[in-house]
Symmetry: C2
Subunit: 281 residues, 2 copies
């Protein structure tokens, strides 16, 4: 069994980012992070982004709003950032408090600054294979990992477990664009193991700790674990039960040390793509 | 083997349309058809739409442009229709001559008048399960047919053959929203028959005359034929080889007399939905 570690994939993507910046001496692409409240997971991710981005020579500016901020205040910040020529990408930590209108946020962020691919225009762009579209970073990270480790996708059966609008669904579109034969599974799928056992590549993105073990997997298949869950001891665990899965799968991306680092690197890459789009006007 | 005829499905949808209009005495929802050139298939479809719509009490206005019209002229017509309060839906016959910018057309049509669901906002709306979105009429017609004939979808395996952005891809999203386990197949799918034989519902939308026969089908499965092709004798034929398929499938929608009538009825239904959205402002 081969472990698909995230670090070398992230390093490869970051190398591309550094080459992009070396070609454009003195430019400083900037990402605006909008954080509502003091959610611990948001703060941890924010720190990780800042650390990686600064090491690449990218700027990160945080805009913090109080938990009880109004929709108007949030919209005002978004409009300001949309218009600010020194900001090239905008990321909003999700989920937002329930009184805030998430859909309005997705509608407001300018398409070319939407580095997380949450706007409708970018979502539809995936279906239309528009090269100027942004995919959600996590979904794109799964592709980057497959490409880095030379995991064939064209003509292969890819099974995706989980149909969220930010991972499972966009990933199913991206995988179809890669010429994979994609089956999208979810909580209502019958005979789930029968379905997942056909897969050459099994992607787990349901957000249920250690839910998927070896009985879901074909001998020698590749398993990509997108899950970020926490067990009772406070340890980060994936959707895959790694130890039993390791007895059957050919390749597994572990959690932690798997997709997480790749996702942050993809965010950097997409910021540079956003910079390019805005550079061209 | 049961034939899934389109006519009773269309009649049921049209009954709903008539009830909608009866509740709103005197209103006259209007569809604008934009036709570039004199393509025979477009003219035939236009006539069919006019006949059905007039019988329902709906208005249809054709805007014809010459084959060599400019993008500016086409945009001008679209803008005019977007602003015209007496037009509630806009449909453009596709494909357009190659010198015209299809993407620009999709971008210009107002979301709430986009009764064919070709705009990016409506496309993404399918992924987000937005009830105010429009699905492409043909994809929606497949769902209407399944519902009318009580074909179960939740938890069942649905296999879609063909990944076009107007039928296969949106249909795969709609079917996932119906809780089906969807596999999207295409020209690069390996072991295609192995994949299609798993399906409880097999939807054929590749646009290849009589390409899919009984060897692709599980005993007793439902087969929906979306194809509209013409054979050497000038007869309309589907993607399904009906005679051999009939020996294995449990239910088949024939071509002609199948999905075509349902698609036109769905267009009428979507015009009324567009009218409602605009009525509410």
């Amino acid at each position: 069994m081969e472990e698909l570690l995230g670090k070398p994939v992230a390093e490869e993507i970051e190398k591309e980012c550094l080459a992009f910046l070396a070609e454009r001496q003195g430019v400083m692409p900037a990402l605006a992070l909008i954080r509502v409240g003091e959610n611990e997971a948001d703060i941890t991710y924010e720190k990780a982004i800042k650390k990686r981005f600064l090491s690449l020579g990218l700027e990160v500016k945080t805009y913090q709003l109080s938990t009880d901020c109004s929709n108007e205040q949030l919209q005002e910040v978004l409009q300001f950032l949309n218009d600010d020529e020194e900001i090239h990408g905008i990321m909003v930590f999700l989920p937002l408090p329930s009184h805030l209108d998430k859909e309005a946020v997705f509608r407001t962020i300018k398409r070319e600054k939407d580095v997380e691919g949450i706007s409708r225009e970018n979502m539809a762009g995936l279906i239309l294979k528009d090269k100027n579209s942004f995919a959600p970073c996590t979904a794109q990270a799964v592709l980057e990992m497959c490409h880095f480790y030379n995991i064939p996708l064209a003509g292969r059966e890819v099974c995706i477990l989980g149909r969220s609008p930010v991972v499972g669904r966009p990933l199913s579109i991206l995988m179809t664009n890669e010429d994979a034969t994609v089956t999208l599974c979810h909580s209502k799928t019958s005979n789930i193991k029968e379905v997942t056992k056909r897969a050459d590549v099994l992607v787990c993105c349901m957000g249920r700790a250690k839910a998927i073990g070896s009985s879901y997997c074909k001998e020698g298949a590749t398993v990509i674990d997108v899950g970020t869950n926490w067990d009772e001891q406070g340890n980060q665990v994936g959707d895959v039960d790694f130890d039993t899965m390791a007895t059957v799968a050919g390749k597994i991306s572990p959690v932690p040390r798997g997709l997480g680092a790749v996702t942050t690197a993809v965010l950097a890459k997409q910021l540079l793509k956003a910079y390019s789009l805005q550079e061209k006007g």
